[in-house]
Structure formats: C-alpha cells, structure tokens
C-alpha cells in the first residue's frame, strides 16, 4: 500500500467517559483512503463506543477527529453523515417490506414538487439503484423487489452502496459478516474488496472473525479495555500476533493450559 498517502481520517487521543466509567481512554487511529482498517478486540474493548462517537451518536469527552484536514465535531448523526462518515450497523436500517429502490433512497428520495408531497422520480431512482449496486458487484435485475426477498449478503451490499452514494468517504462496517452463512460471508467480503478497489474510500471494519480480517485488511488496530494495545500493517503482523492481540493480549498457549488440552 502507498504509505505516502495522507490519512482520510485521523483520530487523536479520543476519550469517552460515561460518568465514572471510561469507555475510551485516549484512542488514536489513522485510516487511509483505499484501505481496509480492521478494528479488532474482545467484547467490551470499546469498539462499539468508538463507532458511536464517530457516527455522532455520543459526543467525545476529549480528543480530536480530523477528516480531510478539517476537525469534525459531531453532536448528531446527521452532522457525522454530512462530514462523510457512513455507518452501516448490524441491523442495516432497512425496511424489509418495501422495495430495494425505496430503501436505497429512504429519507433522501429524489422528488419533484412541494415538501414531503413531492412526487418520487421512481425511474431515475431505480436506475441509480441498479448502477450503484452493480458498482460494488451485485446485479439486481428487479429494483422493485422487496428487500425481504434478498439474501443477507445482498442486503449488506445495499446498505453499503447506499452509504457510499450519499457521500460516505469513511465507511464504518459493524460486524458485517456476523449472522451470515459461509457463502454470504464471502459475498460480503468480495463487496468490501470492491469498495476498497474504488480507491477513494476509507473503510473501518469491525469484526470478531480473524480469518475475515486477514483476508481483506491492510491495517490493524487492536483495542482492549478502552485502549489501543497494538497496531500495524498486515504484512508486519503474524497470525499468532493477531490471535494474541484479539484475545486482549493473552497467549493462546495460556488458554490451552487453562483448558487443560
């Protein structure tokens, strides 16, 4: 990867406290365009809090977030979206009962006419939906089919394509492969790979799955108890390092002993 590139988003010494509880204790993170940055850590490591701060759900207690050289201060999800942070949560925020197009443009419909009673430009919206979906590798022949009829992988793709189309430069994927079958997981990984190849989007990938992380990630950051316990490029880290850091620093060997295997 080209290391002379400037990071698209720089997170410096981010602290988030909930009363007496310190969820994030000075986390720093750089994400480069065209790269997948895997954010790994055990449950309770602070991954979810970090995403929520980035997505504008919780304001940071201290620390800075610099996007494209500009400092971002988010107190609402809308501000984060406007600054170019697109978050794809596990539940994907899709309405299974309505069509692909209606979901793609939900809340941001293309319309002509006054206010909410403007007429949706369905043909145009259908066209854009098909185009954007095919850019990251899913060919939907019928954009009027209900989202409920799509596979889990296709739904993930829809949510990612939607985030990108509406201006996400930094794409946060919250455990995109969990709760999917093997085949679907591969589909989603392929999609992420295609987004990576677009070159201008920085991807933060939160996952529990070490194999998936190693398949597509360029960089790693490991969190434990609200702090960064390790980071590095994919080439530099060995498989055992990753395993160890993912478990929060304990040796797999120690675990073996404990289990008495």
């Amino acid at each position: 990867m080209n290391n002379s590139k400037k990071p698209l988003i720089e997170i410096n010494e981010l602290v988030k406290r909930f009363g007496n509880f310190t969820a994030l204790n000075g986390v720093s993170l750089d994400v480069y365009p065209g790269e997948v940055h895997a954010l790994l850590g055990d449950n309770g490591a602070g991954k979810s809090t970090l995403i929520k701060v980035l997505a504008g759900v919780h304001p940071a207690t201290s620390g800075t977030i610099i996007i494209d050289g500009k400092e971002g201060k988010f107190s609402t999800p809308r501000q984060a979206t406007d600054a170019g942070i697109g978050t794809v949560y596990q539940d994907l925020a899709l309405n299974a009962l309505t069509s692909v197009t209606r979901n793609f443009f939900l809340g941001r419909e293309i319309k002509k006419g006054p206010g909410a009673f403007g007429i949706m430009q369905m043909n145009e919206m259908d066209k854009i939906t098909i185009e954007e979906m095919s850019k990251i590798g899913i060919d939907i022949s019928d954009p009027t089919q209900p989202v409920g009829t799509m596979s889990g992988g296709q739904r993930q793709t829809l949510a990612i394509a939607r985030a990108i189309y509406f201006g996400a430069k930094i794409l946060i994927l919250d455990e995109p492969t969990s709760a999917l079958g093997q085949k679907q997981q591969m589909e989603v990984l392929k999609t992420i790979k295609r987004v990576q190849k677009l070159g201008h989007i920085a991807i933060i990938l939160i996952t529990h799955n070490e194999i998936h992380a190693r398949l597509i990630s360029d960089r790693y950051t490991f969190l434990s108890l609200g702090e960064v316990i390790g980071k590095g490029l994919a080439e530099e880290l060995g498989g055992d390092d990753i395993k160890k850091l993912m478990a929060g620093g304990t040796e797999i060997g120690d675990l073996r002993d404990e289990l008495g295997v």
Partner: protein
C-alpha cells in the same frame, strides 16, 4: 475425476418450484378481497330478485336497482372515508380508536355552530356581588356559513388529533390506550355539549340531538322572493308560483313541459298496467273460489273472460299545468349554498336523468324516476381515495409512511421524521371523521351524539379485510377500498338471502376478518423472508 464447476451445477433458483401462469395473479394481495367482493355482489344481485321471478340480470333485483345502488354506495362511501384514515394510520404502525367518537363530536360542533353561532369567550372569577364566573366575549359570529362551520369544526378535531398523536410519540404510551381515552372523552364531551346547549333554550333536560337545522343545501334564490328553502318555495301560493314562472325563458319552459309530459305519460302507462294486473288477479281469485264451490257455470264464465283478455280503459295522462312547470322549475334552480350541497347533496343527477328519460331503467313502480342521483359522500370518498392513493404510492410522504410502520428504527436512522409522520396521520384520521360528519349533517340536517358509534372498529376491520397488516408497513389504498366495499355490502347481501337470519352477515364478516388477517400475515412473512 471431475470436481470442477460444471454448467449443470444446481443453482439457488433450482430449488424454487416453476411458476405457473396464474402465479403472479395469486401473488397479488388484492386477489382475495376481489373474490369475496364479487361473491357478495353476486349474492346481492341474485337474492334480491323478487320471489317467483326469474332473471339472469342481477340489476333487476332490489339490490341493484337505481335506489339500491344509491343507498348501498352511501353506506360503503361513509365507511370508506373513515377506513382511509384508519388504514393509513395502521400502515404507519399506530391505531386510532377515537374515530367513531370523533364523528359524533365533529357533527356536534358543526350542528351547534350552525344553529347557535360561534363565540370565543374568556372566563374569569368575579367577586362583585358574590363569587361567580363571568366571561368576556372576544368575538361572536351569529350567522355561521357552512364553510365557516366546517372550518371551526376542523380547528377542534385536528387539534385533538394532533394532541393524541403528540402524546403518543412523546410519551411512548400505546396508541390503543391513548385513543381509547379519546373514545370515551369525545363521546362524553359530545353529550355534555348537546345537553348544555339544548337546555339553554328549553327548560326541560336537554336532548343529545339537534334536529331542526334548516335544509341548508336546498336554500335557493327564488326570483322575486330572495333566498328560501326549496320546499317552502314549492309551497308558495299559486299566483306567486305563476309570477316566478313568468321570469323563466320560454325554451326552459318548453323543455320542462316536455319532460313533465313524458313523466305523466309514463305514470299513466304504469297505472294502466297495474289496473290490468289487479283486474286479472281479482278474476283469478273469483275463479279459485268458484272451483272450490264447484260452480260449473261460474268457472266456465270466468275462464272465458280470462282467456278473452281484459280490456281495461287506458288511464289518461294528466295534463301538464303551469303550476307543475313552476314547481319543477324550482327543483332545477341551482343551490345558493354550494358548500353544503358539496357535502350533503346529490351527484351524477344527469346520469340518473338519462337513465330515466332515455334508458327507461331508473323507473319505480309508479312510473316516476326512482333515484335522483348518488349521495355526495361517494364523490368525497372517491376524491379522498384518489389523493391517498397518490400520496401513499407516489410521494416521499408515502415512502415515509411505509417505512415508519415497517421498521421504525430504520426509518429514524435514515432521517425520516417518524414523529411528524405519525402526528400528521392522527390528524388525518380526525380530518376523515370531520368529512364523514359534514356529509351526514348537511345531508339529513340533524346531528346526534350517538353518530359514529362503533365506526372506529368497522373502519379498522375494513382496512384489515383489505390487506392491511396491524403491525404496520403493509397495505394498499386499493385494498382498503375493496375491504370497505366488502364490509359495506355484506349486510345488504345477507338481508336478501331467503330463509336465513339477516344477522348472519356478522358471522360472515367475523370469519372473513380473521381469514384476511391470517392471509395478510402469511404474505407479510413471505415478503420479509421468514417463510
């Protein structure tokens, strides 16, 4: 060994059954309601044909003669206005049980303002001459026009709808409970208001109705008399009627005279026919009597008489008089209160005239015109349904309504103002109730505190029969319309079935309702992929 991917490998799509040609038709959620509707229409058509007559034409029975169509579609349209509001709200994932009470309340406000006017007062406690409450009158309108009455009513109903919606989205209390409160609150308020106003004028305990409103939709400008009710104008003394007629242009008089001649001839013809059949009936009766008493000569005489045919003298048509023409002319004068006529009058009168004068169908047993037109509420239902269809299926607001009911958190995450959507729809149900009330008040010129009772449940049932899922996010306007027709027509259809209790229509509707709910849930699950 061939382990590679070959072209004959099973695909995901191979696991699906091959679709039959009729599969797309059966997959439409409206197909069930359409079937039930056609069944009911058929039942109503054929069972309402009088006993002993045979006809393949379903329009020859009482259910679908001109008057039957007029009355049946009034029941359907009135329910339909409410079902649109209830249905849209359910699609957005909420409930309104206060619709029926809102109908009564809206009718009450409208009738009271039409009768006694509208005033805004500020009450305060006065100590002068003992503790009592005084009021300052801010303004008062004594002569309230229909449009103003509707506007004032809308102020009350829409703000109550807004309040219910606001309370539900802000507190998160189930809409079932909040609107159940609304149901009792509004019904009580309606009764209290009626009694309070009625008591002020008669010393007996006030009644919960207003019955003596003028026939506003039929107020017309009569030449030489100013504004008056149509019936009063027709009851004027003959010389004054003739005066009125003298202002009418000659070609109008000629046209009316021609029509009246047609009517009189038709009446005379029907009278002749009826006289003939009466005569034959009495002869046949005598013949039966003769047969019973074995009176041979009498039997012979009567049989001969019947065989020879009866010659009853043709009834002569009445001559068209100038008074008749004047009265008919008064009937044709256009209303001076178009708003009241818009809600309470008739529509499609030219069509029904054509059906009588030209198509010779819209005729009652006396030879006169059967129905003058359709009730105006049918047009209001139609217009509202058109707007609702457009909004729900074509506009951004429609997408918001579907997503608010389909997946609330997803809608919020995508920036849909779900609270606004819900509050607006609570106001829309109040609007529908007000339209229903306006149609009733201006049509029958009365208002009753019991109006709209149980209508909220009927409206919800109609929406569910039409394919709306109670958990929200699923349903169409076309479905709601079909559900309304089924609900509205079932009572009539069962009424005519010979030999069964008319109340079986409730049994039928109950079964249809549950079947529809099961089917809807099945379709919904298939779409979200859990089936």
């Amino acid at each position: 060994m061939n382990t590679g991917v070959n072209s004959n490998q099973r695909q995901e799509s191979d696991r699906q059954d091959i679709k039959k040609w009729y599969s797309p038709i059966l997959a439409r959620p409206e197909i069930g309601p359409i079937g039930v509707m056609l069944l009911l229409f058929g039942m109503l058509g054929y069972f309402s044909i009088p006993e002993g007559q045979f006809s393949l034409n379903p329009f020859s029975g009482e259910g679908f003669n001109a008057l039957g169509i007029r009355n049946n579609f009034r029941v359907i349209a009135q329910l339909g206005i409410l079902a649109l509001g209830a249905g849209l709200l359910i699609i957005a994932g909420e409930f309104d049980l206060s619709i029926g009470s809102m109908v009564g309340f809206a009718g009450c406000v409208m009738a009271i303002t039409l009768k006694w006017g509208f005033a805004m007062v500020i009450p305060y406690i006065s100590f002068a001459g003992g503790l009592h409450i005084e009021t300052i009158k801010l303004f008062a309108i004594t002569d309230v026009s229909p449009l103003t009455a509707i506007f004032i009513t809308l102020c009350f109903t829409l703000s109550f709808g807004w309040f219910q919606g606001w309370l539900i989205v802000k507190t998160g209390i189930a809409s079932f409970i909040v609107t159940l409160g609304g149901l009792f609150f509004l019904r009580g308020l309606t009764m209290v208001s009626f009694r309070a106003f009625n008591k002020a004028f008669s010393q007996t305990a006030g009644s919960t109705t207003v019955t003596d409103l003028p026939d506003i939709k039929n107020i017309i400008k009569v030449p030489g008399h100013g504004e008056m009710e149509r019936e009063a104008a027709k009851a004027l003394p003959n010389d004054q009627l003739l005066d009125i007629l003298s202002t009418v242009p000659a070609h109008t008089i000629a046209k009316i005279s021609e029509k009246l001649t047609y009517v009189n001839e038709k009446v005379a013809l029907y009278k002749t026919i009826s006289n003939k059949s009466k005569m034959i009936q009495s002869l046949e009766k005598s013949l039966e009597g003769a047969k019973k008493s074995n009176n041979e000569s009498m039997i012979e005489l009567l049989t001969k008489k019947i065989e020879a045919g009866i010659s009853v003298p043709d009834v002569a048509a009445n001559v068209v008089t100038d008074i008749d023409i004047a009265k008919t002319y008064i009937d044709t004068i256009v209303t001076a209160r178009p708003v009241a006529n818009f809600f309470g009058g008739d529509i499609m009168e030219p069509v029904f005239d054509w059906l009588y004068y030209t198509a010779d169908w819209n005729v009652n047993m006396y030879g006169r015109q059967f129905a003058d037109g359709m009730y105006s509420c049918l047009m209001i239902w139609f217009l509202m349904a058109l707007v609702c269809y457009f909004v729900l299926s074509r506009t951004q607001a429609g997408n918001w309504i579907y997503s608010t009911g389909g997946n609330l958190s997803a809608a919020q995450a995508n920036g849909v103002p779900t609270n606004k959507v819900k509050i607006s729809l609570f106001m829309f149900t109040a609007f529908c109730a007000t339209m229903f009330a306006a149609c009733q008040v201006f049509e029958v010129n009365t208002s009753d505190a019991a109006k709209g009772n149980l209508k909220e449940l009927e409206a919800i049932a109609a929406a569910v029969i039409g394919g709306v899922v109670l958990t929200g996010g699923f349903g169409t306007i076309l479905g709601i319309i079909l559900g309304t027709i089924i609900f509205g027509i079932a009572k009539e259809a069962f009424f005519y079935i010979p030999g069964i209790d008319g109340s079986f229509y409730r049994v039928f509707l109950g079964a249809v309702l549950v079947t529809a709910a099961l089917t809807n849930e099945n379709i919904r699950k298939r779409i979200i992929g859990s089936l």
